[in-house]
């Protein structure tokens, strides 16, 4: 047996880097979360306030609605991206002319910076100067106003997210699909299994860890989206697209309320963690149960 020391050695750089840049800042934020602190306000001192920030948070209507909106946004965006990304990855598994070319085009949205994506979508959708409302009006007679209609603004943030991030899902699932052994598929075809059976009984169980990893990454990124939505809607109309990342942003930057902002961040981090942990344990546990059954 090889010694575990080598294993720890291979893992060590990762642990050290994440401890320095992950744990240290977190401890600091946790400390600030228990203080009243507005470094640019009338009283710049840090005052311990015995968990008042957390008490305030429970009754903060703006925070609670932003959590609800964020969950709704993350659900619609991530679910669509996973389904679409999987189908597109399957399409890339086929042989067809110009495959490399189309794959490059498909991944282009990834290399546009989020602030730019937000800006372009804003210019495309702003009433009276944007191309999309203009075409909708002249071709179909539909009025679209992102500045007034909350549902339109919400839908656009979701569509923008799908446009921007589906290629990531396609790529990670494609990497998983090309790495699969071919034999089970050939065997299943010989046995006369149909497409749906092959997907449900062979492909899905085999790429499940990759799907899970992708869902996690997309989910936590969607939960902390700031730049794109900020540029597209600024959180409006009203508070319809004021997702929790934007909410924290507004607390920290215009208001410089660091104490409360830190408390909100700690709670958001905690909620994300619990959600992912439940998902992780739930899915992994279910898989193990199946295996023993």
């Amino acid at each position: 047996m090889r010694s575990n020391a080598v294993g720890w050695l291979l893992l060590a750089p990762t642990i050290v880097i994440l401890a320095i840049f992950g744990i240290m800042p977190f401890v600091y934020v946790l400390y600030v979360a228990f203080h009243q602190w507005n470094p640019f306000g009338a009283n710049p001192l840090m005052i311990y306030n015995n968990g008042d920030n957390f008490r305030r948070l429970v009754f903060d209507q703006e925070f609670l609605t932003s959590i609800a909106f964020t969950l709704k946004f993350a659900f619609f965006a991530v679910a669509s991206e996973i389904v679409l990304g999987y189908l597109l990855a399957q399409l890339f598994m086929k042989e067809f002319p110009g495959k490399g070319f189309f794959r490059t085009i498909h991944t282009l949205p990834l290399i546009v910076a989020p602030i730019v994506v937000g800006s372009v979508w804003r210019l495309m959708t702003t009433p009276s100067i944007g191309i999309i409302p203009y075409l909708l009006k002249s071709w179909f007679g539909i009025d679209m106003n992102i500045g007034r209609d909350a549902n339109v603004a919400f839908a656009l943030t979701v569509i923008m997210d799908i446009w921007h991030w589906t290629p990531l899902v396609t790529l990670t699932l494609l990497a998983a699909l090309v790495s699969l052994p071919k034999e089970p598929f050939e065997q299943a075809q010989i046995d006369g299994a149909n497409r749906w059976q092959i997907f449900w009984h062979i492909t899905l169980p085999m790429i499940r860890p990759a799907i899970l990893a992708t869902v996690f990454i997309r989910l936590m990124d969607a939960l902390r989206t700031v730049d794109e939505v900020w540029m597209l809607t600024g959180g409006g109309p009203g508070a319809a697209t004021r997702y929790v990342g934007l909410h924290i942003w507004k607390l920290v930057f215009p208001k410089t309320d660091y104490g409360y902002g830190s408390a909100v961040s700690v709670i958001v981090l905690y909620l994300t963690l619990v959600m992912c942990w439940l998902l992780y344990v739930g899915l992994v546990a279910r898989r193990d149960q199946k295996r023993t059954a």
Binding site: P13, I17, G22, G100
Partner: protein
């Protein structure tokens, strides 16, 4: 996989590509219009092309420096992260380490933090903790390369783990029996088989580093400032210089495209396992 109707697939991709390209096409349209025309009635096609934005951007030394910084930081970070994640995933997959699943889950928690409040501790870390005499980690390329590990390393570990786990352990054991060292197993057995996963990890970590905005805006000022942050200098409270911003964005697509097309070639099936296994 065989394809009975390749032209149907191509047709489908043409339609999808139009949808994908439209916002990028629109970015280009914005980049070749004078500012006043942006706020008139839109039209789908261009009648005149206004190149001044590009002339201005290409002649700008500062932007060229930002671009160089971005290339160095993203490439440095992507390579570092992919190598570290590869090592870490091999360790997590092949060794029986105490609490390894908890460590695995802990890595991903580093990506969950909402960035806004974490800017302050990072700033303190970069200006006070990692400061020796006159030297500070603040505004250095190496600082950004290391910092981007916080969100890229968890990502890389989570995307690579299924790939490494999927490579049968029998292969390592067979190689070890034949007298291969751990180093040889990793580089000669695992590496070729993990190539599609590694390529995707490299591309995506590169993308995340390239696009990162908040941290770079806070932790760099000039020497290590990235092009994405440089872009935001054109989005100001007094109004946005849409044309300049759009033309820089279009130019930044070029290095990214080159890297993409080079690395994407590796997203193909390596050896089939069955062939090696028996």
């Amino acid at each position: 996989m065989p394809n009975e109707r390749p032209w149907l697939t191509v047709l489908l991709w043409v339609v999808l590509s139009i949808a994908t390209l439209f916002p990028i096409y629109w970015l280009f349209v914005i980049s070749v219009k004078p500012a006043v025309e942006l706020f008139s009635t839109p039209s789908l096609f261009l009648d005149t092309i206004y190149w001044k934005n590009y002339v201005k951007v290409i002649g700008d030394d500062t932007l060229r420096r930002y671009m160089m910084n971005s290339i160095i930081i993203s490439s440095g970070n992507a390579v570092l992260v992919t190598v570290l994640a590869f090592m870490a995933c091999y360790a997590l997959s092949r060794y029986d380490l105490a609490g390894k699943e908890n460590i695995f889950f802990w890595t991903i928690t580093n990506r969950m933090a909402p960035a806004a409040v974490f800017l302050l501790p990072f700033f303190l870390l970069f200006t006070q903790v990692f400061a020796i005499g006159d030297w500070k980690l603040y505004d250095t390329r190496i600082g950004m390369i290391l910092l981007y590990c916080t969100f890229n390393l968890p990502f890389a570990i989570w995307t690579l783990r299924p790939t490494i786990d999927g490579i049968p352990k029998e292969l390592d054991e067979a190689a070890t029996v034949d007298g291969a060292t751990t180093w040889q197993v990793i580089t000669e057995v695992i590496f070729p088989l993990a190539r599609p996963g590694l390529a995707v990890t490299l591309i995506l970590t590169w993308v995340f580093a390239w696009n990162e905005f908040l941290l770079a805006a806070t932790l760099t000022s000039f020497n290590a400032r990235t092009i994405t942050t440089g872009l935001s200098e054109y989005v100001t409270t007094t109004g946005t210089e849409w044309g300049t911003m759009a033309s820089i964005s279009i130019i930044t697509l070029i290095p990214a495209l080159i890297i993409f097309s080079v690395v994407q070639r590796h997203i193909v099936a390596g050896l089939t396992f069955g062939a090696v296994k028996e």
